[in-house]
Each structure stands twice: as C-alpha cells, then as structure tokens.
C-alpha cells in the first residue's frame, strides 16, 4: 500500500510543476502577441522586396553580366546550410523539427558527394546538430542576449555569409527556419538564398507595355539589391522563428499543464482511497477488539 506521506509529497511536487508550466504558458502567450506583430509588420517589406526582385530578374535570366549572387558560381559542390532555431528549449518539437529538416537535407547532400557547411543561428540547433555534424559546423551565432531581433542585428550575419561567398567558401546557400502559420502550426521551411530565387506566386508589376527606367543601371541595382535581399530573408526567417517558438512553447506548456492536472487528480484519488482504507482498517481493529472482550 502506498505511503500516505509519500503520496502527499508527490501531489505537492506535481502541483508546483503545474504552477511553473502554467506561468510559462502565460509568459509565452504574452510574448507571442508581440512576436507575431513583429513578424507581420516585417512581411510587407519582404513581400515588396520579392516583387521588385521578380521584376528585375525577368530581364536578367541568362544574362552573362548578372551578379554571381543571382546566377550562382556555376558549381554546386559546397553547400552552406543556415539553420535558424530558438535559443531555449521547452517548446515542444519546434527545434527538433527544424533540425530534422536540415539533417535530411544535409544527409542527402553528403550522400551525393557534396560538401556541407553549417552555420547555426540559435543555441538549440547547434545542440542538436553537433552530435552528427560537429566538423561541418563552421560557426554558431547566438542571439539569446537580445530581447527581440532587429534588422541591424541581422546585418552582420548576412555580411559574414556574403564575405564567405565572395571568398569562394561555398556555392549554394539555403536557410532553414520555421514558418509561422498559426499558434499551433509552424512549418519547417527550407529557402534557397544563393543563387537567389524568386518565390513562386509573386506577381510582377503590370507596366502596360512601358519599360522601366533604371537609375543606376539594371545590373548595378541588382548587385545592390541582392545582398539586401539576403538580410531581409534572414531577418524574416528569424522573426517567423521567434513567433513560432512562442506559439510552440505556448501549446507545449498548455499540454504540460493539462497533464499535470490529470496526474494530480489521479494521485488525489489514490490518496483519498488509501486514507479511507487506513481509517476503515483501524475501525475494524477497534470493533473486533471490543467484540472479543
């Protein structure tokens, strides 16, 4: 028979766990709202950027003068994978699902004889990936000290990546992050950054037959736009991640709180039964003692 004291202790410990998960859920809910606003505020810029890029790239396809960022180095031997994850755990499968997508991609590339390099943004992605790809991880950037990511924080990251590209360290670059669909759904996404791709479904402006005037020349604009586009895409990825992380944590903590509640109910039932059994046993002992007299 379970010890009453032990049961009481367990109920107390589960109750305090429940309090913590409940608090974490509330904090995540509050942070989620802000993160979501940030992510949504950043979307117009990224969308317009896509549209401008789409307009420009129409005239650039197959043009030998196009910048390298647009047409690639002509080889696809070395791949750089930028894996953006959260800085903290306890958010369900959020980090693992991003890492899993990156891992599948990396395995596929390694199997086909390509060289893979990994840049981790966020500590959790590094923790997951280092077990398998320690030698491939070139750098880990942590943003844990920042309350929220600003555009200026992303610029050094994209500059670093561009410097590596200019130095010929890699040929193809893709970004892995989690797209925030809604609070319960985050979609791990892979996006190719170099060579730049125009996402499908972006409408190009209807010029009614007119031709753009470019100031300065088309290729110069494109050369300036592409590095910026890198920053914007990474920035967008990080903001979507931030919102997704809070959403994932909120639902994970909601589940944890509910599980703790169920556990408390079960334990309380066992506790009450045990207590009643002890009382009954004592009564029987007293009564049978009295009858024996």
């Amino acid at each position: 028979m379970p010890n009453l004291k032990e049961l009481k202790n367990r109920i107390a410990s589960v109750t305090s766990t429940q309090k913590i998960t409940k608090a974490m859920q509330l904090v995540a809910a509050a942070k989620l709202r802000r993160a979501q606003e940030h992510a949504e505020a950043a979307r117009p810029y990224a969308e317009r950027m896509d549209a401008v890029l789409a307009n420009l790239s129409q005239g650039m396809v197959g043009n030998p003068g196009a910048p390298k960022l647009f047409q690639g180095t002509g080889s696809d031997q070395t791949h750089l994978l930028i894996v953006a994850t959260a800085e903290r755990g306890l958010c369900g499968g959020f980090n693992t699902s991003i890492a899993k997508l990156a891992r599948q991609h990396a395995d596929q590339l390694i199997a086909s004889g390509k060289t893979v390099k990994i840049l981790c943004i966020g500590r959790k992605g590094y923790d997951v990936l280092k077990r398998l790809y320690e030698p491939q991880i070139v750098e880990t950037i942590t943003l844990g000290h920042l309350k929220s990511v600003s555009f200026a924080d992303v610029q050094p990251i994209s500059k670093k990546v561009l410097d590596w590209f200019d130095a010929g360290e890699f040929d193809v670059c893709s970004l892995f992050y989690s797209r925030f669909k809604n609070v319960v759904t985050q979609i791990p996404t892979q996006q190719q950054l170099i060579p730049a791709t125009v996402p499908e479904g972006v409408e190009t402006a209807n010029l009614n037959g007119a031709i753009y005037e470019y100031e300065p020349e088309e290729d110069e604009i494109l050369a300036e736009l592409l590095p910026r586009n890198m920053t914007v895409q990474i920035f967008r990825g990080l903001l979507e991640n931030a919102a997704g992380e809070q959403g994932a944590r909120m639902s994970a903590m909601d589940n944890a709180t509910r599980n703790a509640g169920e556990m408390i109910d079960d334990l309380t039932l066992v506790y009450n039964r045990t207590r009643q059994a002890i009382i009954t046993k004592e009564l029987i002992e007293i009564i049978s003692g009295a009858e024996a007299l």
């Binding site: 505020a41 117009p44 401008v52 402006a205 209807n206 005037e213 470019y214 300065p216 110069e220």
Partner: protein, 132 residues
C-alpha cells in the same frame, strides 16, 4: 488635383505609410526626383536623405530615409527603405547629444572593430543631422 498617387513607404520593421498623395520627392542615388501621378516606370536606388511627401492624408511630411529602393509602377510608388525616420519624431538637441556621444565612442575605441562600428554610427547620425 483630381488624380492621386498611391504611395507606400516600408521599412523592414513596419509599414510606415500607405496612402494617396499628390507628390513625393525622392532622394535618388543619381539625383533627387519628384514623382507625380502617372509617372513613367522607374527603379532607382536611394541615397541617404529626406523624402518629401506632399498632399497626404495629414498634409505634407518629411521623412529621413537611408539605403533602399524606390520603384514607380503604373500602380504607384513604393519606397523600400532600410531605415526611415519621420523628421517630426527627431529632436535636434537629442540628436546633437547622440552625435557627441558617438564622437566620444570613436575616440575611446580600443580596437579597429569597435572604432569602425562607432564611426559608422557617427556617420549615420551626421547624415540625419545634415538633412534637418
């Protein structure tokens, strides 16, 4: 004026302005240019400077922009600016103070990296100051 120009100003953080205006003066990298309704399609990079909007919902406004693009299509004008600060939100005294702070940062910097970063901030602040 009967016809209006659809004008959008977006920065990475937010959509600053999306409204119908009479005219916008854009600081293009190869010279300022004005955009009126039914302007021919143009795509231009921006230099740091002041964007002037005339005839918007709240009258005229002046906005400092740095780094980005202006795109004119038959549908209107879109300005993508990496940084955009409405001049009305700027305080000259505060700005001068930050410039002074930045100058001290440059002077105090111990290695090249921090000095470059401080110098960049200082240049940015000076550009804003000049535009006032």
């Amino acid at each position: 004026m009967a016809e209006k120009l659809n004008f959008d100003l977006v920065s990475p953080d937010r959509l600053l302005m999306s409204e119908e205006v009479d005219m916008v003066l854009v600081p293009g990298s190869e010279g300022d240019f004005g955009v009126l309704p039914a302007h021919a399609p143009v795509m231009s990079t921006l230099k740091p400077g002041v964007l002037e909007v005339t005839g918007g919902a709240e009258g005229s406004s002046r906005i400092f922009v740095r780094g980005g693009f202006a795109e004119v299509t038959p549908q209107g004008l879109t300005v993508l600016a990496e940084e955009a600060i409405p001049l009305a939100e700027l305080d000259v005294a505060k700005l001068d103070q930050s410039i002074q702070d930045a100058e001290e940062d440059v002077a105090d910097a111990k290695d090249d990296q921090t000095r470059d970063a401080a110098q960049l901030t200082l240049d940015h602040l000076r550009q804003i100051r000049e535009s006032l």
